[in-house]
């Protein structure tokens, strides 16, 4: 049984990180979301603010941050939280893997988590 982390799941994961004000969709995810909807594609990999791209092995998260901890600290925490959520699923960057090779494959091709900080609310 494979479980796939969906973009919606990641929204929750990201928003739970302290210092994250919320998902803040920008160009990167908006165009993809619209495109997916127009093509009636399964929307689970794309949501406003989060894009999961198995082909490039990249997850992109567009966020707004709140003041407080240094930006890079919050960003790193987001990246690790997303990485953990992806690790929990058995899906590697290029689709479902046979269970016994899942962890091997993941080590060879780890997800890259790219964070795009859209805004920082003022002091």
């Amino acid at each position: 049984m494979t479980t796939e982390t969906s973009a919606a799941d990641l929204v929750e994961v990201v928003c739970a990180v302290p210092g994250v004000r919320g998902i803040e969709a920008g160009i990167a995810s908006s165009l993809r979301t619209l495109d997916a909807r127009l093509r009636r594609d399964r929307a689970s990999r794309v949501r406003y603010g989060i894009v999961i791209d198995p082909r490039s092995g990249t997850v992109t998260a567009e966020v707004g941050l709140a003041p407080g901890a240094p930006v890079r600290t919050i960003v790193e925490e987001i990246q690790r939280a997303v990485q953990r959520a992806l690790d929990r699923s058995t899906v590697g960057p290029v689709g479902p893997q046979p269970a016994d090779t899942a962890s091997e494959r993941r080590e060879e091709r780890p997800w890259q988590v790219l964070v795009r900080v859209q805004s920082l609310s003022g002091a």
Partner: protein
């Protein structure tokens, strides 16, 4: 006909208000009533606005609609590459980057950030991104007073350099401070 209070209000001069032929033919009394009406209308507004009366200004709903629309139209600008964290790469919008610097400038007592611009290294990655910042130029307003302005500029520079290091791990930066204005503290 002169408007006796025209000179006081808003600094415009009574001489600017040249009367036309029709005014000279007007009843002095009528003209006085006219002037009185205008003056009392202004007084009414001043009082009512000070009391927060919504009849002379936008309703609270209209005001919040404007502020929501402003926030919704927020321009992030292009994205700027940053030194990656230990867990992966990230970018900051130009808007977020300016906010980091603005907060640092504002944190210096007596200093008000005005505008900030950046020079960038060539981008490593995708289109539409700018490279890592190489130089920052801060336009500021400093409190008028006895403080040495060079000292103030140095303090601002230090604060900006510290914030860039702390928030973004940017260490190789040139920071220029330009005191453009003085304000009363």
């Amino acid at each position: 006909m002169e408007h006796p209070d025209a000179h006081d209000r808003n600094g415009t001069h009574a001489a600017d208000r040249v009367s036309g032929p029709s005014d000279r033919e007007s009843d002095d009394e009528a003209t006085q009533r006219y002037l009185d009406l205008i003056r009392s209308v202004h007084d009414e507004w001043t009082t009512l606005e000070a009391e927060g009366d919504s009849s002379v200004q936008l309703s609270a709903t209209a005001l919040s609609t404007i502020k929501e629309a402003v926030r919704a139209d927020f321009r992030h600008g292009a994205h700027v590459e940053m030194p990656p964290t230990a867990a992966g790469p990230y970018t900051l919008s130009e808007q977020a980057l300016r906010t980091v610097v603005r907060n640092a400038v504002d944190s210096v007592p007596g200093v008000i950030a005005l505008r900030t611009t950046f020079d960038h290294e060539p981008p490593k990655g995708g289109h539409r991104t700018r490279g890592v910042p190489s130089r920052i130029r801060c336009r500021i307003s400093a409190a008028a007073g006895d403080r040495d302005l060079l000292e103030v500029a140095d303090e601002v520079r230090t604060a900006v350099i510290a914030a860039c290091r702390e928030h973004m791990d940017l260490t190789d930066l040139r920071v220029d401070i330009h005191i453009e204005d003085l304000h009363d503290n």
